[in-house]
Symmetry: C2
Subunit: 534 residues, 2 copies
């Protein structure tokens, strides 16, 4: 593998961008948002337009960002990734050493996929899924009384929960009225109890999702759920499905009705378009709608190969993010979907982005002298406007915003009140916020002054559907990968989660043993939650 990846601050454009950042484009100037700029600063990908006139960039900044992207080889690395290069590694140190092929899980629409082996495996699992769904549909597969399954409970955490849950909620209007999906993730026993308590378990499937087959929370919740099934006189082996690695201890046909496979070249946080999302989504919205979702994602994967920055929407989103993070020193990024259906999409992106790019060393194991992934946070608009937007407008820290909106609602039921529809009000608010944050406003009353120059972008499409949801997911997945490539970090491992596991295991050993030999453990336990120790 090419190991000439260089740190961002060694690329020639880096210093020029530092210079440029001393006088970034001033969005408060008269005519700062002139019609030419508004019409010109738009990029396209699939069904989406990215409006970025409200970012603090001008043509010369964009040219420097183009240079930086090119010097980093971001697009080339993206192509290498899709073809199956071992991008998940740290040169010279023990690391996962894996390929990164979530894009293969939707590269099933072409006669010549980028990585034929992985695309073939994806197709094989999709075929199993289609057969399984047909068996449910025809009644060949039902409960002990021969009834159809109407519920599916997904037991998974992190990547096996957040993305699938976000997309399920986003596509509920496309869901079959006779089917429902529920989620258990937290090791908190109340999570499992609350979900199962009022459910007709006899008509419920349970998908247990863990690539390793060893995730603490998931196995614990599986045990809790099986206890509930047995308590209701039901045989778990007739209700439980496994979504796991072929070599995992969970790959055991005796315990599961069906098993679907995950592959080590797909990280959890990028697994929504694999069977992790596929099983529950196609149960709910049908296999054809799930195919459309995959089509949308695949369309963006191809669009992200475009070498011209201004015509590559995900790359542009990535580079504008780097401008804000590294050159304008903004520590966080608010993602603000003006769509209630996307209520949990930001929680997914928080994982996908922060677990990928919350890193401090490069791909050669060296410490970085620049910042990497920002804190990702946000809530749907207009709700957020009545919550934290006060701080976005008048707080002391500048928070760049990525707005997401749609021209039409999902249900298409609306009402004109005061001459405009709710959907028009929703979109007008989105636009107004982006403009207001950018331009600011003067007043004699200091409390009514708005400093402005707070950057934002707007992602727009016609309507949130399976296809545009797949596109949106892939836009962010490729944005995150591009940023990792430019920062020269490994976006595909998560060693930072290990320490907590080790320490938790140590504490649990103390709790289980009753013998508290470790003084730190003893002191913590005594001072904390397990009573008075010994």
């Amino acid at each position: 593998m090419d190991n000439n990846f260089r740190n961002m601050d060694l690329l020639p454009a880096y210093d020029k961008l530092r210079q440029a950042a001393r006088h970034p484009y001033d969005l408060r100037m008269p005519e700062a948002l002139n019609p030419q700029r508004l019409a010109g600063y738009i990029a396209h990908a699939g069904s989406y337009r990215l409006l970025y006139a409200t970012q603090r960039v001008d043509d010369s900044t964009l040219e420097l960002l183009r240079e930086l992207a090119e010097q980093s080889g971001a697009v080339e690395q993206f192509k290498m990734m899709k073809r199956g290069a071992v991008m998940n590694r740290i040169e010279g140190f023990a690391s996962e050493n894996r390929r990164v092929l979530h894009t293969a899980s939707r590269d099933i629409f072409s006669a010549s996929p980028e990585n034929p082996e992985a695309a073939g495996q994806a197709q094989c699992e999709l075929d199993k899924l289609r057969n399984f769904l047909a068996d449910l549909e025809t009644g060949r597969l039902g409960n002990a009384r021969g009834e159809m399954f109407t519920n599916l409970v997904n037991i998974g955490i992190g990547g096996s929960d957040l993305g699938p849950r976000a997309v399920y909620l986003a596509l509920k209007p496309f869901s079959r009225p006779d089917r429902r999906v529920l989620f258990i993730s937290n090791v908190d026993p109340d999570d499992c109890v609350a979900v199962l308590k009022d459910l007709d378990l006899s008509r419920t499937l349970v998908a247990v999702v863990s690539k390793s087959g060893a995730t603490l929370e998931t196995l614990t919740n599986e045990a809790l759920a099986k206890k509930a099934f047995r308590g209701a006189g039901l045989d778990p082996a007739r209700h439980f499905l496994a979504v796991t690695g072929e070599n995992s201890p969970m790959n055991d046909p005796g315990r599961y009705l069906r098993s679907f496979y995950l592959f080590d070249y797909i990280c959890g946080r990028y697994s929504t378009s694999s069977l992790v999302g596929g099983l529950l989504l196609s149960f709910a919205i049908g296999f054809d709608n799930f195919q459309k979702f995959l089509e949308g994602a695949n369309r963006i994967d191809r669009a992200a190969e475009e070498p011209d920055l201004k015509r590559n929407l995900p790359l542009l989103l990535a580079m504008l993010g780097i401008w804000n993070r590294n050159f304008l020193n903004c520590e966080t990024l608010a993602i603000l979907p003006y769509s209630q259906a996307l209520s949990r999409f930001v929680a997914h992106l928080q994982q996908c982005d922060m677990e990928s790019n919350g890193k401090s060393i490069n791909r050669q194991g060296g410490a970085l002298a620049y910042h990497t992934g920002p804190v990702i946070w946000g809530e749907p608009g207009t709700n957020g406007q009545h919550s934290f937007y006060q701080a976005l407008h008048q707080g002391t820290a500048v928070v760049p915003c990525e707005f997401i909106g749609f021209r039409h609602s999902q249900y298409r039921e609306d009402l004109v009140v005061d001459r405009t529809s709710s959907q028009e009000k929703l979109v007008a608010n989105l636009l107004a916020q982006a403009v207001g944050l950018a331009t600011g406003a003067e007043s004699r009353n200091p409390n009514r002054r708005f400093p402005g120059n707070r950057p934002g972008s707007i992602l727009l499409a016609e309507r949130l559907t399976p296809e545009t949801m797949g596109e949106l997911l892939a836009i962010y997945e490729s944005k995150i990968a591009f940023q990792g490539f430019v920062w020269n970090i490994n976006s595909f491992d998560q060693e930072g989660v290990q320490l907590g596991k080790v320490l938790a295991d140590r504490l649990l050993g103390l709790v289980a043993d009753g013998s508290i030999a470790d003084p730190l453990g003893r002191a913590i336990l005594k001072s904390a939650a397990f009573g008075d120790g010994e």
Copy 2:
């Protein structure tokens, strides 16, 4: 009113704290978390303990923070607030000029309340509420067919949604099995349609909540909901309740079954313990449980008057936050409840804190030279551990964490797997994370190195109940108020939300008129979401 409020950087302790921040307590030292420290750095309030040994403070830092709090008069201002001083104002400029008396909404357990007038008004509304609930219970108040109401839909946004929703979700195990509460907030028409679509409207009450009676989203959703009721052949006046100001246009008995009043001395984001939360919470969990919630909140309101920093938990939480924000320069704060029931509590705190303290001017209208409220974000643990904790441990920015946990689960249903229960696993993980972030860990593999020195606190109680939920809410409400007092800002207005409203109205005028005279508006609309303008 006293107008000697001074900026934080003019207080004598400020410069000493800046000095101290050059060498903050090093949590990575051997014995940094020694038993004495772990046992000593604990504060109490009501049912909660705050463990703060994993903050980067030592006794001398705490002494300086005590001086800063004292010099700012934080506790004195808190008492003034509770007694009814006009704390919501900017000296010398047009401002809301209001008292701040959310504490009065639960100051109903004493013969001598701090502000008798406001406490009396609270009691009066609670009496109306109790009668209303009795009428529902006895069947005196039912639908047109004489059936009981089983659903209550809350239409409100911001403070009329986030806090009540968070507490309702937190207390679901205490909810009556025959009653359900649903929420509509977003102007996105899909929000309303999705909630009402499968509901038996004939057995549904709708609470329309807006202090001003003029909130765009709420009135629009009320209109959408009324249309649905009329479509189902139901008379909205027999189903809709008003929670509003006595002088608001919504105070109209002809249109509502009952009206409950809000007062201008309670900000939306502090209104969960008023009738805004009271109506839906007592519908769900019963009036007695709601009283216990109020009792918990009131207990903390009294505990927060304690002058000694180390014995005043909310004040200590506030000062540790100021230490991290202003002296250690941490821009964000993660709040991490290890309780799935608190899944939306952070969204409420995000509003309560950021809308209160996301300010840049002091109470005399002058610009501040220091930072105010951080970005508040977070998700429940252990879910977050499989999401963004990678960045907390190994990202380039330091994020202080406030962990919240409980010794017992709510449902008390659990299972021992591998020698420990789920609840024990949950709490062990919480403790392990706080310790791991603080101490870090060394490794020869740079990717397995943990820098440590990442500060955190732990809030612990026995179990999440109506009472401890009320306490937790009040701990944060008073923390936020204390921080505002020390920063010398007005935590009780929200002028920063006005610009967006003005701009949105302008755009909606253009949309409604079809005549797009304003060039900026035209360009935005053309380039954006409403098609091609003219």
